[in-house]
Amino acid sequence: MDRYRNNALAIDALVRDAEVHRDVYVDPEIFELEMEHLFPNSWIYVGHASQLAKPGDFITANIGRQPVLASRHTDGAIHVFYNRCPHKGVKIASEPCGNTGKFFRCPYHAWSFKTDGSLLAIPLKKGYEGTGFGDAQANEGLSRIRNVVVYRDFIFVQLNDNGVSFEDYFGESLSTIDNMVDRSPVGKLAVVAAPIRYMHTCNWKMLVENQTDTCHPMVAHESSAGTAVKVWKREQGSSTETPMAVQLYGPFMSPYEFYEQSGIRIWPNGHGHTGVANSIHSNYSDIEGYVGQMVAAYGEKRAHEILGEVRHNTVYFPNIMVKGAVQILRNFIPIAVDKTLVESWVYRLVGAPDKLYERALMYNRFINAPTSIVGHDDLEMYERAQEGLKSNGNQWVNLQRLYEAGEQADVTAVINGTSERQMRNQFHAWAKFMTIDMGERIEAAE
């Protein structure tokens, strides 16, 4: 039974000023509509240009339900295609990444394509003579995605040809990516290893919301970060040097006041970040030699400006989170209404000491791995929420904390760090990009 398809008003009604209806997390039809509308209408991260270092390098990804393939052509350009052969629809590339050489070759009938997607050859070509094949869509080769932007090596695509432009979509929020890249003395990041992957049996939006939820760490993570701090205090003996591990775990136990004062910044279109004034990443030890490298590269003032920006989690709506201060990007990939694949990538700061990469890898396995005790705390809560939302007792999720009547949407603002306004910001964007291409509502609004 379709309740929401082509019904922008019904979808709008799921998002109130300070509440959302449970159907956004549990209704399979809503999930399908997210795949058909929300993801194609948004700018989605597919990978990093360093994964496509040489001509012929490729990576694969999914955007909503759609398999895509990004490749580096001989002229250095990056192209993104739908990952299907124009002949019978077979996926051209099946691995997460690789090098295809000079051309892609379909494993079924050996149709082959240049790395810019154009059709190179078909076996027994004469069988197509006089068939009008020249006018067929298949003759064009791999279907190219037109809206591809490589921003400081981050590859974003938008499937909808007529959607919001990249600049209008992200605006000032790109400053977090800028800061992460600028943390390399040569202004470059590199992916040199596969991500940590973690399957979550919950709706993808629970993970995204949790990135700017600052009222849960001291509660949910008492078991992990709290125990780490307790064991360290008891067993450190006479040592005063806090090991890297305790530096990473400890700040999770900061009190509410710390998060309140850290602040949250919101941006239009659902983007926003925690850690404006300071963050859980503020007080890590200096890595020997690194500040000197930065000063040499950028000058005293600019280097300290870059390193003084310690944003905690930046949400790029709809489904990635960037952590500039430890060079991590988490991709929340929706699989089903109650199933989400999380891929946590670590970027290496090119030219910086190894120790920074070591710390980022450590953070990733402490916090983002299926073996992470912090991860266990979070996933337990998401799974309980996915179960609990089946309750008919109350069908609304409350996002009212520090709500003010008349709150404006799609604005830039800095607010109290324990506000749930970034979640409200995301749901405003959610309703917008779910329905922006559903005819009726656009007419009604404009």
């Binding site: 940590i196 125990t227 090991p243 591990a245 396995r365 791995a369 991860g375």
Partner: protein, 158 residues
């Protein structure tokens, strides 16, 4: 005198302590400098500058063990249990003079919690050292056959 049988017995005892949830006794098997490592790459050689699922020293393992019993450890309500099924450990080195004791064990590991049951297959490599009359773990390395798969929670020890 440490013999091949001593090593084998040690590995069976270690698994038994895990299966019977005698966590403190399990921690006592580790050398103070011991490490527990689960790589994230095929034939990984570097636990520090290559990503891993786990690479923990004794302090961090103590944190895990203490957490399992914590009043507010919600992911352990209900508690997990585990089971190890082995092939006979393969002795790689047993050299009392050099103090080198290594074994590799192929196994299937099961972790269960509530109605959930997950199976993992892999190899455990033990680097052991002699302390007094007994052996201690210098490095326990766990290589899963599908280290690159997206797992749900893995809460206990393989």
């Amino acid at each position: 005198m440490i013999t091949e049988k001593t090593i084998t017995d040690f590995i069976y005892r270690e698994a038994d302590l895990l299966d019977t949830m005698q966590w403190q006794a399990w921690l006592d098997l580790f050398h103070p400098e011991g490490r527990y490592w689960m790589p994230l790459e095929w034939q990984q050689h570097d636990p520090v500058l290559q990503p891993s699922l786990m690479y923990e020293d004794l302090l961090l393992l103590k944190v895990r063990v203490e957490r399992l019993a914590g009043e507010r450890t919600f992911s352990q309500k209900p508690k997990s249990r585990c089971h190890h099924l082995f092939q006979a450990p393969q002795i790689i080195a047993c050299d009392p003079e050099a103090g080198v004791f290594k074994a590799r064990t192929s196994y299937i590991y099961t972790e269960t919690r509530g109605d959930m049951l997950e199976r993992f297959s892999g190899w455990a490599s033990h680097d052991l050292v002699q302390v007094g009359d007994s052996l201690k773990i210098k490095l326990k390395r766990v290589d899963l056959v599908n280290f690159d798969a997206p797992f749900g929670n893995i809460q206990l020890f393989m």
